[in-house]
């Protein structure tokens, strides 16, 4: 969906056009769901929070003002607020990983498939331990594949700040994987 089409739908949706809002919903629901999932690592909870995000978007669509940013940027901000609120209500900080998410140590007899699963789990755990802003950058930049300028727009920060966040987040992840005994060279060699 190009920007012009999105702006037209936003205008219609803000005037109560159900089909227009449905189109915007369909266009963005999976992106928002993935974003939330990577932050809460629970599919059921991610569905609940995704529903919450679009319900709130629906309530606010009549007063939505297009500031030249993608509609998704607004949805991401709502999603970010919902995730933060979830952790606040549950009394758990986002960087407190669940007891079952702590990866076990790598052993020499792990086969390639097991090693990959182990690495994926360790990586998810490591992402969950990042700060909220760092999590956002990693998800938007590397999992969703947005360019740095788009991420900056979505997070309402300048591009240089996002670049610095990006480096700190990647460095933290690398250290975590190293502590978990994961040899990234070996894993990457197996992926190619």
């Amino acid at each position: 969906m190009d920007r012009v089409e999105e702006q037209r739908l936003l205008l219609d949706a803000s005037n109560g056009d159900r089909d227009a809002f449905a189109s915007l919903y369909r266009e963005n629901v999976q992106v928002i769901y993935r974003y939330i999932y990577h932050r809460v690592t629970d599919t059921q909870l991610a569905e609940d929070l995704t529903g919450d995000v679009f319900t709130r978007a629906l309530k606010g669509i009549s007063s939505y003002q297009d500031q030249g940013k993608p509609f998704a940027a607004w949805l991401y901000r709502i999603a970010h607020a919902r995730v933060v609120d979830h952790y606040r209500r549950s009394g758990r900080r986002p960087d407190e990983s669940d007891i079952d998410e702590v990866p076990v140590a790598v052993t020499p007899n792990m086969d390639e498939g097991m090693m990959r699963r182990h690495t994926a789990k360790a990586l998810r755990t490591a992402i969950a331990e990042l700060t909220s802003d760092q999590q956002q950058v990693i998800i938007l930049r590397f999992i969703e594949g947005h360019r740095i300028e788009t991420v900056a727009e979505m997070m309402d920060k300048n591009a240089n700040a996002i670049k610095a966040l990006q480096h700190r987040a990647l460095r933290s992840l690398a250290r975590f994987l190293e502590r978990s005994g994961i040899d990234i060279d070996t894993i990457l060699a197996g992926l190619t």
């Binding site: 109560g16 159900r18 809002f21 449905a22 919903y25 369909r26 629901v29 999976q30 769901y33 993935r34 999932y37 990577h38 629970d42 599919t43 059921q44 991610a46 569905e47 609940d48 995704t50 529903g51 679009f54 319900t55 629906l58 209500r89 549950s90 009394g91 758990r92 669940d98 007891i99 079952d100 690495t119 994926a120 990586l123 998810r124 992402i127 990693i138 930049r141 590397f142 999992i143 594949g145 360019r147 740095i148 240089n160 670049k163 610095a164 990006q166 480096h167 990647l170 460095r171 992840l173 690398a174 994987l177 990234i184 060279d185 894993i187 990457l188 992926l191």
Partner: protein, 409 residues
């Protein structure tokens, strides 16, 4: 790394990331392009590559459709939210048990038991159990609930917990009505908890009991004022849920006695739901010997083996016919009261008499402390005028002190 070099490094990193993901350059080519940063670039680029390969789950088509139908319903779609289009509500049986670590779950079960014991014992947490919104201890109560929810999500007991929390929010809303302090936030909380209870305990008797009482209360408009626009959203949200119950829909028209499948009319006060629950935990340990002499132990704790029994009692009642009642009107009348002025009368009292009473201990000797002998000067009373004021008169009272002398026996 100084600021300028750091900025250059960030730019080099971002350039490499773009080139790497677009397939323009390989990792080695990136490192060769920026040899001065190669050592720092390598781990960042490697982790970025790994992160980009993380699989992302997609929301299921049925969930996407259900959520869309829910949203359209909220937008005032003519198409009502029906059983088939209602948002996905997995039953307790379909809730995925996220933690695969059995020890973690067992530990959480024990922890829940300890926490519940703490909550029902003494201290601030127990004191907060009955607190209501706006009260000092209410945040403690909500925080405690959050802890229980997190643990219940680990043990798979969210169905029981959310039904209990929905009932708690319901009581709080009723309290709000009683105190004329029901707020939109309390309704929002009630809806959220009810939604969660429906989601996690779709078929449970406890949920049905709760919804029955809730529906009756809404029917009687104890909580919801159908004329109040601020409550309209709550009605919109809860109405599709309650339509499935054997009660008349909200804001229904017509004679209520002609509705409800044989139940003429149910007053919320006449409904009692008796719930009994038995949770059976039968942990078993299975040892599986393998060829290399290692053993695998599996601890199976069937925490879902819950037996629920619900007993409902409802009393039919024909709505009372309003009758006119005369109210007497009492008009107070005022009359002048007589003015009473106090008058004083002085009444001299006779001189005091003195009696010496001595009590000897058993078998003991009385040792007088003061002796009056004939011929001693007459004791002179000392007057201490003391004025007593009563409603009718003043009195003068006198007292005297005996001026005796002490002497040895």
């Amino acid at each position: 790394m100084n600021d300028e070099r750091a900025l250059d490094f960030y730019t080099a990193l971002d350039d490499c990331l773009d080139a790497l993901f677009s397939g323009e350059r390989t990792l080695d080519a990136c490192l060769a392009l920026y040899p001065e940063y190669a050592e720092d670039l390598k781990p960042d680029l490697q982790v970025a590559l790994l992160a980009s390969r993380l699989k992302s789950p997609a929301m299921s088509d049925s969930s996407v459709d259900a959520l869309e139908a829910h949203l359209m319903g909220l937008m005032g779609d003519e198409k009502p939210i029906t059983e088939t289009t209602r948002p996905h509500r997995p039953t307790a049986k379909t809730i995925p048990f996220r933690p695969p670590m059995i020890l973690g779950r067992a530990a959480a079960i024990i922890l829940i038991a300890v926490l519940i014991a703490m909550g029902s014992g003494g201290g601030v947490v127990a004191a907060s159990a009955d607190s209501m919104p706006g009260e000092t201890l209410y945040p403690v109560k909500r925080m405690w609930e959050s802890i229980i929810i997190v643990l219940a999500s680990i043990t798979g007991q969210l169905d029981d917990v959310w039904v209990q929390l929905a009932e708690t929010r319901f009581k709080e809303a009723q309290f709000g009505v009683d105190q004329d302090a029901l707020t939109p936030e309390m309704l929002e909380d009630l809806w959220q908890a009810t939604q969660k209870a429906i989601q996690y305990a779709d078929e449970s008797p406890e949920l049905q009991a709760y919804l029955t009482v809730l529906a009756a209360d809404l029917q009687a408009e104890h909580i919801i004022d159908s004329e109040d626009a601020s409550h309209a959203q709550f009605i919109t949200l809860i109405e599709p849920v309650l339509e499935t119950l054997p009660l008349s829909p909200l804001n229904g028209s017509g004679d209520p006695t002609q509705q409800n499948n044989g139940v003429d009319f149910i007053d919320a006060n006449d409904i009692t739901a008796t719930l009994t629950q038995t949770i059976v935990l039968s942990p078993t340990i299975t040892l599986t010997p393998t060829s290399n002499a290692n053993q695998t132990a599996t601890l199976d704790v069937p925490i879902e083996n819950t037996i629920n029994t619900a007993t409902f009692t409802a009393t039919s009642r024909i709505p009372p016919t309003p009758t006119r009642t005369a109210t007497p009107t009492i008009t107070p009348t005022a009359t002048d009261l007589p003015l009473i002025l106090p008058s004083a009368t002085i009444t001299p009292l006779p001189p005091p008499t003195r009696a010496i009473v001595a009590t000897a201990p058993e078998g003991g000797i009385i040792q007088p402390t003061a002796v009056y002998r004939p011929g001693d000067p007459t004791p002179i009373p000392t007057w201490f005028p003391y004025v007593r004021l009563t409603q009718d008169a003043f009195y003068l009272t006198r007292t005297a002190e005996w001026q005796g002398t002490e002497s040895a026996p």
